[in-house]
Point group: C2
Chain length 350, copies 2
Amino acid sequence: MPSFDAWTCPAPLRDYQTIVMGHGGGGKLSAELVQHLFLPAFRNSALEQLGDAALLQLEGARLAFSTDAYVVRPLFFPGGNIGDLAVNGTVNDLAMSGATPLFLSSAFILEEGLALDQLGLIAATMGAAARHAGVQLVTGDTKVVDRGHGDGVFITTSGIGLIPPHVQIGPHFARPGDVVIVSGTIGDHGIAILSVREGLEFGAPIESDSAALNGLVADLLVDHAAAIHTLRDPTRGGVASTLNEIAAAAGVGIRIEERALPVNAAVRAACELLGMDPIYVANEGKLVAIVAREHADAMLTLMRNRPLGSKAAIIGEVTAEHPGVVVARTGIGGSRIVDMQIGEQLPRIC
Amino acid sequence: MPSFDAWTCPAPLRDYQTIVMGHGGGGKLSAELVQHLFLPAFRNSALEQLGDAALLQLEGARLAFSTDAYVVRPLFFPGGNIGDLAVNGTVNDLAMSGATPLFLSSAFILEEGLALDQLGLIAATMGAAARHAGVQLVTGDTKVVDRGHGDGVFITTSGIGLIPPHVQIGPHFARPGDVVIVSGTIGDHGIAILSVREGLEFGAPIESDSAALNGLVADLLVDHAAAIHTLRDPTRGGVASTLNEIAAAAGVGIRIEERALPVNAAVRAACELLGMDPIYVANEGKLVAIVAREHADAMLTLMRNRPLGSKAAIIGEVTAEHPGVVVARTGIGGSRIVDMQIGEQLPRIC
């Protein structure tokens, strides 16, 4: 076993000596923690793809394997609870690799004193979400920590999916000329969490968009498998972080039209009030698709005919210019760089 | 989504309204939580096998899939830390189904304020443990919770393994006449944790036995695949809980010889001082094997020639009498029922 002495903190962690909230925010600090601390420790080629799911070869089959820890606060919020979030989030990570999600595991870290009826409701919600998504919760684990050392319940779900032979989807497949589609309104989940956490009211109630997207992806794959280059679900850090990650992975630029971004009126009003930009706010039932231009219109039409894609929109395109950089044309005709955030706008959003 | 009103707490949870530490202890309370709360919510045939790993059919391959959350306190202890525990524990759960462990995921729930050099050491230890066990850490996730809502770091690892075609191992395959082997001294991990947590000194330092057992299992499978009916790693609840689970699953009785149980002298002394029975104390690098009688001696010899099995011993046999019950013949010639514990002797042992 390595000793304390033998291991020294890698340099480029911005002089932090301890974990700060931003290390969990899905922005630059998260990326640096992975890059400088976890990757050197775990180094292997599957991990270094850094997709939402690892792509594995096993007995001739192509598997996707993904894991996510869920620490959302509060446990219950408009539109869902930590249970369906934990199922849908991992189902979506698998679906974004083009895989058909099949099996989930769930590990619970319970805090002493958690009400059993709350846990029961969360478990029932997970079961219902799994059935709805067509996946099975096949194995699990339960640990209990003493009061004051947890926060009700944390859930880690991991999932296995099977990638059909003809599917080749990944962040590095985006290429200049491709079209960027988002499957619906952005920012709903983050603002729903924020509103209930802070006791804010914005007129119309804002609900989380928590949903499993594997059905929508399956429908898209029927006629457009070769045209889908990249799929990502823009969770922590929102559409902005997702596009930045794709631009970096593929070595391309991305240009979006700010006015084209679909945003619910209530979410837009809340964001203006709070000084937040919806492009950075988390979603839990939306996908970003980078697709071949000649298929874009047909895919948009298909999405709009599905409940989970009814507000889908083409929001931009992939460019050969400014590789690694995301640029937005603003409503008044100017343009601005949409950078990745350092830390996080909203902690514990998922 | 089910509503609070629609869901009522299942009856047989002993009138508890909230989670207590014992629900995480691997004893009767843990089993009841799974039986009455999680199973009805998640119901499916793979889950109902209730093995340490789920057994899945995928494209003609037989996969084992397992998950465990690690919440051990303290994070660092004699013989290991939470990092190698999280790797070895999940590797062992896969190996106990006869699978060759291949891929692991790891999800970290970090508490704000955790020292980065501690996290770095834990990650380095995980990487080393994975290489040692011959598995790859292929995907992961990191979340951060605010100070006072976590406990340094919790790690959930999930794993995928491949079960060779000729292997049929499971708790329900134990049958009367089989021999019970344990691969080495029992109770080391639990007493190591307890000693450092409580600041106890027992003369000789007691180290955790944290180790990956997949190599030992692979060696046993070469000549004895058909003779191995059941493998389990006796973690929470110790050898006693493991034998009770096997007896219940297979509908058989188990009779053991108390004097045959290998126990390190320092562990025995500590247990006597503390009024604990090593048969209930957790292990993290030992296995219990239920094997066909005619192979038992050869398997024992093989184990004893391996570092991880050098103290292996035959400790008892499977009987047709008293199905579901584990009986120990005591040192003075009497016999006692070795029941499963209700809650837990040592919280947060893994």
